[in-house]
Symmetry: C2
Subunit: 349 residues, 2 copies
C-alpha cells in the first residue's frame, strides 16, 4: 500500500455557457503529493473513490450560480473539482464510526482520493445486503430516494390512475415507472431511442412507451397513449413535453417536477403555452429536492429491499471505466447517450 499518491481530479475549467462540452472539464493530476493519512483528532476519513454518479444537476452547477440555482445547491468553482455522489472505500480513518475497508456513499469531489471532514452526511454500506456497490449511487442511493419521495410523497398516487414519466429509462425514471406499476397504475414512459423504449416495455413492464424524437407531435403521442388523460406526470425534462402533458392532464392531476433537463442550458427556453390548464384542471405542480426527504431513507430501504430481493424491481446501469472518461460521461448524459443510470467506475473495489 502506498503512503503517498498523486491525486487525479476532474476540474471545471470555467463556468459553462450553453450545453456543457467535454472541454469544459479537464483531468488534472495534482502537483502536490497527497499523503495517505488523516490528521489525528480531526474525525476525518480518507477514502478511495470507486464509483461516481453522473446526474443532470451536475450540468446546472457547472454554470455561473444564480440566486435560483444557489437555492438548490452551491455551484462548482472554476479551477476546482466538480462533485457528486460516489461510492468509496475507507483507506484510513480517524473517526470511530468508520473503519479502514468500510464502504461508504455520499457526496465527494470527483477525484481518486478524498479527505472527508464532514462525515455526517456519509452512509456506511452494509455489505451483508448483497447488491452491487453501484446500487448505492442508483437504486439504493439518491436516485432511488428521489423516485420514492417524488412519486409517493409528491404525486399522491392511487391504484388505477394513469402515470406518465419522461426520461423514463434514466436513473430515476426507470424506478418511478416500476414503483407506479407496483402501485397498480397504468404506466407510460418516453425516452429518446428505440433501444430505450424496448427496455421500458420489455424489462420494466411499462404499459406503453414512445420515442419522443420520432413523434411529429407530442400531444398526439400522449393522446394515443392516454385516451382518457393523465392523472400523474413525473417530469424529468420540462419544456415542450411539459407543455404537451398539461394539455392532456386530467382534473385534479399532479405533476412532480423532478427535473427539466431539456431547459437548463438553453439561451431561450421553450414556450410553455398551456399553463392556464393548471387552473382549468386544478393541477398541483410541485418541485422537490431529494435532500429534503433524507429522513425517509430508512423507510425507503425497508420498502425497496424486499422488491430487489424478490426480483420485482430491476435496475439498468450504464457503467464506463476510468476517471478520464468523466467528461464524456457527463456530456453524454446531457445528450441522453446513456442507457440507464450513468456511472463512472474510477477504481477497482
Amino acid at each position: 500500500m502506498e503512503t503517498t499518491v498523486k491525486n487525479k481530479q476532474v476540474i471545471l475549467r470555467n463556468y459553462v455557457k450553453g450545453i456543457p462540452k467535454e472541454s469544459d472539464l479537464m483531468i488534472v493530476t495534482a502537483s502536490d503529493i497527497m499523503e495517505i493519512k488523516v490528521k489525528p483528532g480531526s474525525g476525518a476519513i480518507l477514502v478511495k473513490n470507486l464509483y461516481l454518479s453522473c446526474d443532470p444537476y451536475i450540468g446546472i452547477f457547472m454554470r455561473e450560480p444564480t440566486p435560483s440555482t444557489s437555492a438548490l445547491w452551491d455551484a462548482f468553482v472554476p479551477g476546482k473539482p466538480i462533485a457528486g455522489f460516489g461510492v468509496s472505500k475507507v483507506i484510513t480513518s480517524d473517526n470511530p464510526g468508520f473503519a479502514k475497508g468500510d464502504f461508504v456513499w455520499g457526496i465527494v469531489d470527483w477525484e481518486e482520493y478524498s479527505t472527508i471532514n464532514a462525515t455526517g452526511s456519509f452512509f456506511k454500506i452494509d455489505i451483508n445486503i448483497n447488491v452491487p456497490l453501484t446500487y448505492y449511487i442508483g437504486i439504493l442511493g439518491m436516485p432511488g430516494l428521489t423516485a420514492y419521495a417524488g412519486f409517493f410523497e409528491i404525486c399522491s398516487p392511487k391504484t388505477g390512475e394513469t402515470m406518465f414519466v419522461s426520461a423514463a429509462s434514466g436513473a430515476v425514471g426507470q424506478l418511478v415507472g416500476q414503483f407506479a406499476k407496483l402501485m397498480g397504475c397504468y404506466v407510460v414512459g418516453s425516452a429518446g431511442s428505440k433501444q430505450k423504449v424496448d427496455i421500458l416495455l420489455n424489462k420494466f413492464g411499462f404499459n406503453d412507451a414512445f420515442n419522443y424524437k420520432e413523434e411529429p407531435d407530442l400531444d398526439t403521442a400522449l393522446k394515443r397513449c392516454f385516451p382518457k388523460g393523465i392523472d400523474i406526470y413525473f417530469d424529468n425534462v420540462g419544456g415542450k413535453m411539459l407543455d404537451a402533458v398539461l394539455l392532456n392532464m386530467r382534473t385534479s392531476g399532479r405533476i412532480s417536477v423532478c427535473g427539466m433537463i431539456s431547459q437548463y442550458h438553453l439561451e431561450t427556453r421553450d414556450l410553455v403555452q398551456n399553463l392556464p390548464d393548471i387552473i382549468f384542471k386544478r393541477i398541483r405542480m410541485q418541485g422537490f429536492a431529494t435532500y429534503d426527504f433524507i429522513d425517509q431513507y430508512p423507510k425507503f430501504l425497508e420498502f425497496v429491499l424486499p422488491y430487489i430481493k424478490e426480483d420485482k424491481l430491476t435496475y439498468v446501469e450504464d457503467i464506463v471505466e476510468g476517471l478520464e472518461n468523466c467528461p464524456g460521461a457527463v456530456v453524454g448524459l446531457l445528450h441522453g447517450k446513456n442507457v440507464g443510470k450513468q456511472v463512472v467506475k474510477v477504481a477497482q473495489e
Copy 2:
C-alpha cells in the same frame, strides 16, 4: 305586478377570438312573452335578477370550448345568454324552500327574469345579516370563498411570511391581501393604476404596492418590495408577472393559481422562462376551482362575518347600472377598467 314580461337577455353573438369586444355580446328582447309563473309540481322558482357578477372567467367561456376549458365549466352557447353569479329576488315559487320575496344567489343566465329548475345550487340570503345584497356576489359569494380557499387551503400561510398578490384590487385580490394581513403576513400587491395602488395602501392596509404598468422591469419591482423573496404568490394574472415572481420565490414557496387573466385571450402566450425555479426552490404551484370548496362555505361565513361586522374587512365594488351596460362591464373588466369588484345592477331591489 305584471303577469307577463318581455325578457331582456345578454346574448353571445359568436365564439370570440382574441380579447372579447362589446360587439361580441348583444342585448336582445325576447320575442316570446314570458309568463310570470312556474309550472306547478316542477319545484322551480322564477326570479328577478337584481345584480350580476362580472368575472374574468366569463371571457374564457365566450371562447370556443376546448377539452381544457371544458374541464372547468361549459362554454356559453352562441345565440344564448351568457351566465354567471347573480343576486335575485324570488317572484314566484313552486318550491317549499323558497318564498316569494326571498333573496337568493347562485348562477343565473344574464337576463332580467330567470326560471330556476335546479334550485339545489342556490343559496337563500339571510337578510338579518345586514350587508348590501351585492356582497353575495362579492365578499360573501364566490369571490369571497375563492379568496378564502385559495389563500388558506392552497397557500398554507404562516405568520410572518411574505405574500404577493396580483390584480390586487380586484374582487378576489383585495380579500386575499386583507386575509393575509389578518394572518400576520407581509403583504404586497400589484395593480394597473395609481388609483388602485392608493386603495391597496390606504384602504386595505397593504404593506406595499406597485403599478405594474409603470414598472420598466417586474423583477426589479419585486426585488424592491421583497428584498428577501416571496413565500406566497396568489396569482390572478399569469404570464410575465408569474415569470418574474418565480425568480423571486423563496425556498418552499407556494403559488396559488387562481387566474391567468393576462393569458386567456392571447394568440401566443407569454414566454415563461423561469419554470425550472419550481425545482430549484421546491415550489408548490396549485390551481383550484372555487366550487371544489363549496362545502367550506358555512365555515367561511363563520370566519368572515365577524370581521365585516367589526369593520376589519372592507370591500370595494364598482357598480354600473342597467342590463344594457353588461357588455361594457365585461369588456372593461378584461381591460382592468373596474376599480374593485365589477357588478351590474339590473333592477331595483
